[in-house]
């Protein structure tokens, strides 16, 4: 791969991204590289301040990275933003449409910007969502705004859909409607999706690959299936020693992400689980009542990213 063009097979490709802000000694993003193949749904996770917003802005060609490059469809997005945006639909974290325009006016405006614009599809979706097309955008509820944004993002039949925490603050009905529409879109057209969300169960259902930002670095970039396959929570009692300081030594065959000593024994999250390794572990001397349970994406996230669950990013 040369530096001028990205991998043409990847719809999104990020190469050694570095974002620094003046006056801030530690970079906001550092050595971030990943790619999203065509048709893939990529879930991007990260806690507040992990650098998600900067990454999204770089990906959309709205911000110039300090170094490194972002490619969409193999083209440098900073250089070819305008052309690449014709193939990309964006649902921003904060709805940014002018509040004084109605959905109908917005659709008419976009029809003059995009080479192919499907006005009818926008109104079909709005009708399905039950969002009035002639209400000022600024007067809509948060959920309605997200649904209008999605309808508009899909109006250009994009090859890439970037959803930046689109369901944040939405009620269950709006969230269901949002995902329902997204599933339909994915089924009809093999749209590539980059989804960032605080709603990890949603990501868990939709994504086939996830990336996780922590402190500006991409600490995870992996197929969801293998990720979930290698993480387990182990619970066992230890009869070998009374000294809590020595607890966990028996886990040496595993990469323990987190070890907690409870009253009844030890609870650990391991990131390289395997059935046979576990059978050997359970048979170890002193390990009693060992059991392994699967982790949800949220639990993996908490184990990797830190204590708090992901909320709004910056």
């Amino acid at each position: 791969m040369n530096g001028m063009r990205g991998n043409e097979a990847a719809v999104v490709e990020v190469k050694s991204l570095l974002v620094k802000y003046g006056g801030n000694p530690s970079p906001t993003l550092e050595e971030v590289s990943f790619s999203i193949p065509r048709g893939s749904v990529y879930g991007l996770l990260g806690r507040n301040g992990a650098g998600k917003s900067s990454l999204v802005r770089c990906l959309l060609g709205q911000q110039k990275p300090s170094s490194g490059k972002c490619f969409l469809f193999g083209e440098d997005v900073w250089k070819h933003r305008s052309l690449l945006m014709a193939r990309t639909g964006v649902v921003p974290e904060d709805p940014d449409a002018p509040p004084s325009m109605t959905a109908r006016q917005l659709s008419a405006f976009f029809s003059r910007l995009y080479p192919r614009w499907n006005d009818a599809s926008v109104f079909d979706r709005l009708r399905r969502f039950g969002v009035p097309p002639d209400t000022l955008f600024g007067s809509l509820s948060k959920g309605q705004k997200a649904l209008v944004s999605l309808s508009l993002a899909l109006g250009s039949s994009p090859e890439l859909l970037l959803l930046d925490d689109p369901t944040l603050g939405l009620d269950a009905v709006a969230r269901a409607a949002f995902f329902d529409e997204l599933v339909g879109e994915l089924a009809d057209r093999e749209t590539t999706v980059l989804l960032t969300s605080h709603d990890l169960s949603g990501v868990e259902k939709m994504a086939d690959r996830v990336g996780m930002l922590k402190g500006g670095r991409l600490v995870l970039d992996e197929d969801l299936e293998t990720l979930k396959g290698r993480f387990r929570r182990l619970r066992y009692a230890n009869e070998q020693t009374e000294d809590p300081a020595l607890y966990g030594q028996e886990l040496s065959d595993f990469d323990a992400v987190k070890v907690k000593v409870r009253g009844w024994g030890v609870e650990a999250v391991v990131s390289n689980y395997g059935d046979e390794a576990f059978a050997r572990f359970a048979a170890k001397e002193g390990v009693v009542d060992a059991e392994a349970s699967a982790l949800s994406l949220e639990e993996i996230f908490v184990a990797v990213a830190g204590e708090a669950s992901p909320g709004r990013n910056t």
């Binding site: 802000y21 003046g22 006056g23 802005r57 959309l60 060609g61 709205q62 911000q63 110039k64 933003r81 305008s82 052309l83 945006m85 014709a86 990309t88 964006v90 921003p92 904060d94 940014d96 449409a97 002018p98 004084s100 325009m101 006016q105 405006f109 976009f110 003059r112 910007l113 995009y114 080479p115």
Partner: protein, 653 residues
């Protein structure tokens, strides 16, 4: 283009209520005549004036308000991403928003005037200048306000550290540009008269690059800054200050260049004034590659050394009789205009070179004279004749002040005495107060004045004074026809008493005091150049020499003792054609022998003392008598021994 218009249309539609509002506000002027005292016959005028000021207010307020908010607010509120996540090239975002704001601002002002126009019909247009250029200015001014408000608002509201640099550079460049402009303006770099009689061209000359720089900066801000407020501000600042530097530094360089002119840069010499002794001359003229700027210097014709005396326009340099000191006044300027109409007086020891400010500040029209030694300086402003001791030029001491209520030409007779002569262009007016023709001496030590004589009515005492001030030459016309022969008379320099008639038959006669007490008079009679020589004390010419066919003769100085130069021309007028037709002849005043000199030259100081209000006694045998101007008005020195010509100043075209 299509997307640009889409963005512009969106901006306009979003603000359609503003336009409707201006139309409604435009109804206000129609209601004013219903107020008590404003109705009646003047109702129409009330409407016009109100509509005009309403439109003007909107024309100024709208661009400032929209310039400060469109784009900047969207960047600070992070709503600008709405445009950047669409297939919109930056030029469409930038130009679309600019066009939208421009349209609303311009049409807002127009809409406010519409109701008045509807009521009063076409005549209401009289209140508005709707000519083509005025419309262009209106739109350009709106653009300037928009871009200016946007830029200022960006700097203040984007809240990045660039603002420190912005204000520093703004102050620096504003000072640099203002000082450069002032310097160029005062040096006469722009000929405002030629600039269509109007300095507004200069304003547009400056506004055009300013608008360009502001627009380019805002474009780069959008194109390169995008949604990143800090980068946005950076792109704006770098572009704006980069372009400003591109404009300001050459402008500053130009100002330095224009003011760094030396005598060598003189294209030609327009004014020249020779010191009564020595080799220094005051010269002024246009300088090479510096617009219409002119410069003046006191220049040593022998060594080429010079002292710059800026802004001394009409060659009013006063020299001491020994030619070692000079004094001149520089008009004092405020920022762009002459301030208080005062001069700052400078005195220079010419050999030392550096002018010394005396701190004296006579009125702008004051005339100056230096005493024979140059240690005393007199200035006359039309009411007061003041004398100072300027031995220490930086610390002058006032010696005497005389109040005089008439116009004078004056000179130092000696260190203590100033002699004043009447100054008239016509003494033949009826009912003339004869006291105004008095010749007066002012004694600096006794601080008293003494009337020593009176000039004859009908004679113009403004030709020449002998070096010792004993003799004065006057002229009188025989007919009211400038080409008719004039009567040239010699008078006692102190009493004004008529001593003798020098010439009655010569057209345009000129006179010179020569060495050894002799005098020369040159003129034209019967189509021939004539030179008459008078010996000291003799009442009739010792010699009258025919110089050959000529329509005009100009008497030069004594190029070497006893030898004078006369320039002859076959033309009466002094135009381009005649300049190259001048022929110099040298006349030996002892033998009357005439020898041909170079062609195309004319004595350089032919006009000095003609117009000067200060009578500079003409020393015989001046080295500056060897200075001539050629057809291209270059200053040429002729070696009297060999006849070799050296071009001292001025450049060949």
């Amino acid at each position: 283009m299509k997307t640009t218009l889409a963005v512009a249309a969106r901006e306009i539609v979003e603000r359609r209520l503003v336009l409707l509002g201006t139309l409604l506000v435009g109804l206000l002027p129609l209601t004013l005549p219903f107020l008590p005292g404003l109705g009646g016959a003047g109702a129409r005028d009330v409407r016009f004036v109100a509509a005009f000021y309403l439109a003007l207010t909107i024309a100024v307020a709208f661009p400032i308000a929209f310039g400060a908010t469109i784009l900047v607010s969207e960047i600070t509120q992070k709503r600008i991403a709405f445009y950047f996540s669409r297939p919109l090239p930056p030029v469409s975002i930038w130009a679309g928003k600019l066009l939208g704001a421009l349209f609303i601002s311009v049409s807002g002002a127009c809409l406010a005037a519409i109701p008045t126009i509807l009521v009063d019909g076409k005549r209401a247009f009289a209140a508005f200048d709707t000519s083509g250029p005025a419309t262009v200015y209106f739109v350009l001014t709106t653009l300037l306000l928009l871009a200016g408000a946007h830029t200022f608002s960006s700097m203040v509201r984007l809240r990045s550290a660039w603002i420190v640099l912005d204000f520093l550079l703004a102050a620096l460049f504003a000072a640099l540009i203002a000082l450069s402009l002032r310097s160029l303006f005062l040096a006469g770099f722009w000929n405002l008269y030629e600039m269509k009689h109007s300095p507004e061209w200069l304003a547009w000359w400056l506004a055009a690059p300013l608008i360009t720089a502001l627009l380019a900066a805002s474009y780069m801000q959008v194109a390169d800054g995008r949604t990143d407020a800090r980068r946005s501000h950076g792109a704006l600042s770098v572009t704006l200050w980069g372009l400003t530097a591109l404009l300001a530094l050459p402008l500053g360089g130009l100002a330095l260049w224009v003011n760094a002119a030396t005598p060598k840069d003189l294209v030609h010499v327009d004014g020249i004034q020779a010191a009564p002794h020595g080799t220094w001359v005051g010269v002024a003229g246009a300088v090479r590659s510096r617009g219409s700027a002119e410069a003046s210097f006191i220049f040593d014709a022998m060594s080429g050394r010079f002292v710059k005396c800026p802004f001394s326009w009409d060659g009013t340099v006063a020299f001491s009789a020994d030619g070692t000191r000079a004094a001149w006044g520089e008009p004092r300027f405020g920022f762009f205009e002459m301030k208080d109409n005062r001069l700052d007086l400078f005195v220079a020891d010419l050999s030392a070179g550096r002018p010394v400010a005396t701190g004296l500040e006579p009125a702008g029209w004051a005339t100056l004279a230096l005493s024979p030694s140059g240690r005393r300086l007199a200035s006359f402003d039309g009411k007061t004749l003041a004398a100072f001791d300027v031995s220490d030029a930086g610390n002058p001491k006032q010696i005497a002040v005389f109040r005089i209520a008439r116009d004078l030409r004056y000179t130092f007779v000696d260190e203590d005495t100033i002699r004043a002569f009447p100054r008239f262009f016509n003494t033949q007016v009826k009912g003339l107060d004869l006291a105004r023709l008095d010749i007066t001496e002012f004694s600096l030590s006794s601080k008293k004045s003494l009337v020593t004589g009176r000039f004859e009515p009908g004679t113009l005492p403004f030709l020449r004074l002998s070096a010792d001030a004993r003799f004065l030459v006057g002229t009188r016309r025989t007919k009211d026809d400038p080409s008719a022969p004039q009567i040239l008379t010699l008078h006692d320099g102190r009493t004004g008493a008529h001593l003798m008639t020098l010439s009655e038959d010569l057209e345009a006669p000129r006179v010179r005091f020569l060495s050894g007490g002799r005098m020369a008079v040159a003129g034209v009679a019967d189509g021939k150049g004539i030179l008459k020589i008078f010996l000291e004390g003799e009442r009739s010419p010792a010699r009258s020499i025919e110089l050959g066919p000529a329509a005009g003769a100009i008497l030069g100085g004594e190029v070497s003792p006893g030898r004078v130069a006369v320039a002859l021309t076959p033309f009466r007028s002094n135009d381009e054609r005649s300049r190259s037709a001048w022929k110099i002849v040298f006349v030996d005043t002892g033998t009357g022998a005439v020898s041909a000199g170079p062609d195309g030259l004319v004595p350089a100081d032919r006009f000095s003392s003609w117009f000067s209000p200060v009578l500079q006694p003409a020393e015989a045998g001046l080295p500056s008598s060897c200075l001539f101007l050629d057809a291209e008005r270059r200053l040429v020195r002729i070696d009297p021994a060999t006849g070799a010509q050296t071009v001292l100043l001025g450049r060949s075209k």
